[in-house]
């Protein structure tokens, strides 16, 4: 597994998906609120993706499409992908979607590049033109993957401007950034 130690990969796999159990399961308590220590066949619940995938592969549970890829979201993306608040739906929209697509709904595979193509253009455009990032609502709509693109675009623009102005070439190491100035 090449992403074994990757934080984003782990977090993306923690997204919940609705599942229906195809087998009865003993000795587990999926829902903390109930006292019973088993799962009946046909019962429905939501599981983190890493668990749902393994159970799905062993025919113990079937996965259905989670809310962040439902019809409503798809319609909104088709209307104007750049304005959809994907972060509140799923902070790892693309990662999660590409993992999910082969397991439950192949059309997600078409949705992702469509959404990304439109949003990518918008991200690059906004990253260069928004002067006050705090005042803009746009960054709050972005998923984690898009945020890193947005920040990369902004920092490269800032570096370019600094280079043109011939600014200072010495930079503090980023790990020392938090140091307080000694009181004089």
């Amino acid at each position: 597994m090449e992403n074994y130690n990757e934080i984003d990969d782990i977090l993306a796999e923690e997204e919940f998906v609705p599942v229906v159990f195809q087998k009865a399961i003993n000795g587990v308590k999926i829902d903390e609120s109930t006292e019973k220590g088993y799962i009946e066949q046909g019962s429905k619940t939501e599981l983190p993706f890493w668990l749902a995938r393994e159970l799905h592969m062993r025919q113990a549970a079937s996965i259905s499409v989670p809310a962040c890829f439902n019809q409503k979201t798809r319609l909104e993306i088709q209307a104007d992908a750049a304005c959809v608040d994907l972060r509140s739906r799923c902070p790892y929209f693309y990662e999660f979607g590409s993992k999910l697509a082969p397991l439950c709904d192949k059309t997600i595979g078409l949705l992702l590049p469509y959404a990304f193509r439109i949003r990518y253009k918008e991200i690059l455009h906004k990253a260069h033109t928004i002067a006050f990032a705090a005042a803009s609502k746009f960054p709050t709509l972005l998923t984690t993957e898009e945020t890193s693109l947005y920040e990369a675009a902004q920092s490269s623009m800032a570096a370019f401007k600094k280079w043109r102005a011939g600014g200072p070439r010495l930079q503090r190491a980023s790990i020392l950034g938090r140091k307080r100035k000694p009181a004089e």
């Binding site: 990757e6 003993n26 587990v28 903390e32 890493w50 010495l170």
Partner: protein, 197 residues
């Protein structure tokens, strides 16, 4: 919920700023380990139950088997979270050697407080391995952080008649190396033997 503690641990790491080190979360780390033990005990109990009912543990796919499977998967998941936590911190700590200093005592106290004892040990061994290597090869690889070296590069801007604004740092570094070799300067002594002062 299953393997939830591992997720919390990774989340804790992800919430910190990139390149910044959070204090080692000993408490949560131990909770994850405890949860692993818990999963292991429940897994064992289910397997034992299957053995008592004298069913074939390898082949049978009954409800006990799937219960054991879930505990097994949760264990593996928690292990992955623990590994990722330690691994990603270790990467940040390794970078200290280049960015701050090769000795543990060179690190500012704020950073030292955030390391766990085994991480301090790791840092010490990592930097001593680096130092041994550099001594063997005879090159101080850690020139980038040296302020005086950067100043030398600045001086070389004018020396080589290059325009400040279009100078690539990498090119300067290579030119500097060639300059040192050509003039017989030992690369590791370059800060002392500055030709411009």
């Amino acid at each position: 919920m299953y393997a939830r503690k591992g997720y919390e641990l990774v989340k804790d790491l992800a919430n910190g700023e990139k390149g910044q080190l959070q204090p080692f979360n000993e408490d949560l780390f131990n909770q994850v380990v405890d949860q692993c033990t818990q999963h292991y005990l429940e897994l064992q109990a289910l397997i034992r139950k299957m053995q008592e009912e004298s069913v074939d543990v390898r082949e049978t796919r009954n409800s006990d088997h799937y219960g054991a499977l879930i505990h097994h998967l949760s264990l593996i998941r928690n292990k992955r979270c623990l590994m990722a936590y330690v691994h990603n911190r270790a990467e940040v700590i390794q970078n200290f050697a280049w960015k701050v200093g090769l000795e543990l005592l060179e690190l500012p106290e704020e950073i030292q407080e955030k390391l766990s004892p085994s991480e301090k040990n790791y840092f010490g061994k990592h930097s001593s391995a680096l130092q041994t290597y550099m001594a063997e090869v005879g090159i101080d690889l850690n020139v980038v952080k040296s302020l005086s070296f950067t100043r030398n590069i600045d001086l070389m801007h004018s020396e080589f008649q290059t325009n400040n604004s279009c100078c690539n740092k990498k090119i300067i570094k290579i030119v500097w190396k060639i300059y040192c070799v050509a003039n017989g300067y030992n690369l590791s002594l370059q800060i002392v033997n500055v030709p411009f002062f």
